[in-house]
Symmetry: C2
Subunit: 349 residues, 2 copies
């Protein structure tokens, strides 16, 4: 609950400011941590505004795409000079918005700063569902729902199918692999360190896993793990891995495209060459976005909470304390430094 003493108080507000559009690999110096003094904890401006305190911030691969000066159907780019934004768990301090009241907790897009003045409650749609749910868990919502929608709805898996997951120890990949095992599939994951490979095999129960950085020939590697081919590829990385997978799909196989993190730092994405496999093997490739599954959030929780309680679904998070460490955590996503879901704790209380 909001702390009454905070209201009307004057505080400082630490922020992670986006400096300018990024070309190539992002660096911590593309962001700068600043402090605004004298923020009055009282909502200002028009009748929809909401002043929130940010508690947990999520580091997600798509954030790299917002560092390019390019609008897409899903995202608008970051604004140079303003804080970066991302999914977070926040608490309402003061509100002129009839949808949200002081003390409400919510999960949605917020600023990378201690306090944010949000202009509307749009995009914070899940708040009603989440209010009674321990808020620290909420941040798992996005990757969980992404894995759930992407695997069960897009992939429509069947028992015994051969499933390959790239970036498999990541926030989404680790869940997809476990969902696939629950379904009775054969599951192999790829990751970028030996530790992550061990995690996939020993903690998340993948049938097998490999370190793609140690494979000089990705096509040969994929063929070695799938001598009979792949029914379902859960695509998180794109580029060379996609090319190798295309050569190893089974007839009528499916590629569910969640993201292509290997391409996010490229000014010009790598070319993918083996697309004729789509015809040879009647492959279906389908993109999706987590927002497509927001209406199923409640169904997702009903599905996953019992598994979590029984310990049948495991989840690894990589927690960084302090907003000032946020830029390092975010950049770490793109060189694979994180193990599991990367979270920044701004304020645990």
């Amino acid at each position: 609950m909001a702390d009454g003493s905070e209201k009307n108080a004057v505080v400082s507000n630490k922020k992670v400011i986006f400096k300018d559009y990024v070309s190539g690999f992002p660096k911590e110096s593309n962001m700068v941590v600043t402090i605004d003094e004298n923020l009055k904890l009282k909502v200002t401006g028009d009748s929809k505004n909401i002043l929130v305190k940010n508690h947990y911030l999520s580091c997600d691969p798509y954030m790299r795409l917002l560092m390019k000066n390019q609008s897409t159907e899903i995202f608008d780019p970051y604004t140079p000079g303003a804080p970066i934004t991302g999914l977070g768990v926040s608490k309402v301090i003061d509100s002129r918005n009839p949808e949200l009241k002081e003390g409400d907790l919510f999960w949605g897009i917020t600023g990378w700063e201690e306090y944010s003045l949000l202009k509307s409650s749009e995009g914070l749609l899940t708040i009603q569902l989440l209010v009674n749910f321990y808020f620290y868990k909420m941040i798992k919502g996005m990757p969980g729902l992404t894995a759930y929608g992407g695997f069960y709805e897009v992939c429509a898996p069947k028992k015994g199918e051969y499933v390959f997951v790239s970036a498999a120890s990541g926030a989404v990949g680790q869940l997809v692999g476990q969902f696939a095992k629950l379904m009775g599939c054969y599951v192999v994951g790829s990751a970028g360190t030996q530790d992550k490979v061990e995690l996939l095999k020993n903690k998340f129960g993948f049938d097998d896993a490999f370190n793609y950085k140690e494979e000089p020939d990705l096509n040969a590697a994929v063929k070695r793990y799938f001598p009979e081919g792949i029914d379902i590829y859960f695509e998180n990385v794109g580029g060379k891995m996609l090319d190798a997978v295309l050569l190893n799909m089974r007839v009528r196989g499916l590629i569910a495209v969640c993201g292509m993190i290997s391409q996010y730092n490229c000014d010009q994405p790598e070319g993918v060459h083996n697309l004729m496999s789509i015809v040879y093997k009647r492959v279906r490739i389908e993109g999706f976005a987590v927002a497509d599954y927001y209406p199923q959030y409640s169904k997702f929780l009903d599905f996953i909470l019992p598994y979590i309680r029984e310990g049948k679904i495991k989840y690894v998070e990589d927690i960084v304390e302090g907003l000032e460490n946020g830029p390092t955590a975010l950049i770490g996503l793109f060189n694979g430094r994180n193990v599991g879901k990367q979270v920044v704790v701004v304020a645990s209380q």
Copy 2:
């Protein structure tokens, strides 16, 4: 009907022999026309063999792929020193196969030669359906069924949708565009000459068409014809056109991949770069092969024959007389010399 006088006669047999695997653009000199003398018109060898006289041969883009030393789920490559093969309309001269008898006409894979000794009736599945159908029309079967299956089954079009067809004056494209108009879609086609563009607009009833060879910026061209984006792309060419289309798809648009002829002469296919559009726009890409729709051949004929009779579906063929002109006709496909379906007449009687 088979001519009784042919049986037991001795004839010469002209053949188009495949010389060796081809790298880069194919040339007429990759094939050689030879004549075997003293072919006895009597079936020889084991009990499934069928001796056939070939009447019409079809030139199809996939044949370029068989000139590479590469097996796929759909095709095995040509054998150097043996005749090339392709879809044709043929007549049984003599048979030891219980499935086929002297005088039967059929449509299926045969050799590029005057007479072929086929080893089985496998792949000639449509023969029962076609026996009573004027055989010259049969050769239309494959592109027709490809267009039908690909458009109605894979694309599942709706009235008013924006449809783009590449290689639109080709055997499949011209039909897809007309099917789309019958469905009430807005249809634009691309082709490689101004004459073909006129054909698309004036004969096949496309809403608009353009010559891709005259467009320095394909993305700008596609955007000009589809300012609101593309719902359905019927893909026949791949490469740079696919990259341009990916940038111009509408959210939840569909790309049905029939072929990628622009890539067939490349030893290493061009890279396609804009695949992140699959995520941004939740695009679905789906490959298919005409063989998937063989069971629907009868339904297809019921659908299309009334339209053909009423003149509501038009069809342009490019006919070459004489097997010796076959290599030129086939090579012409890859530089766009043909207008409409390319057919080689080996023997009209």
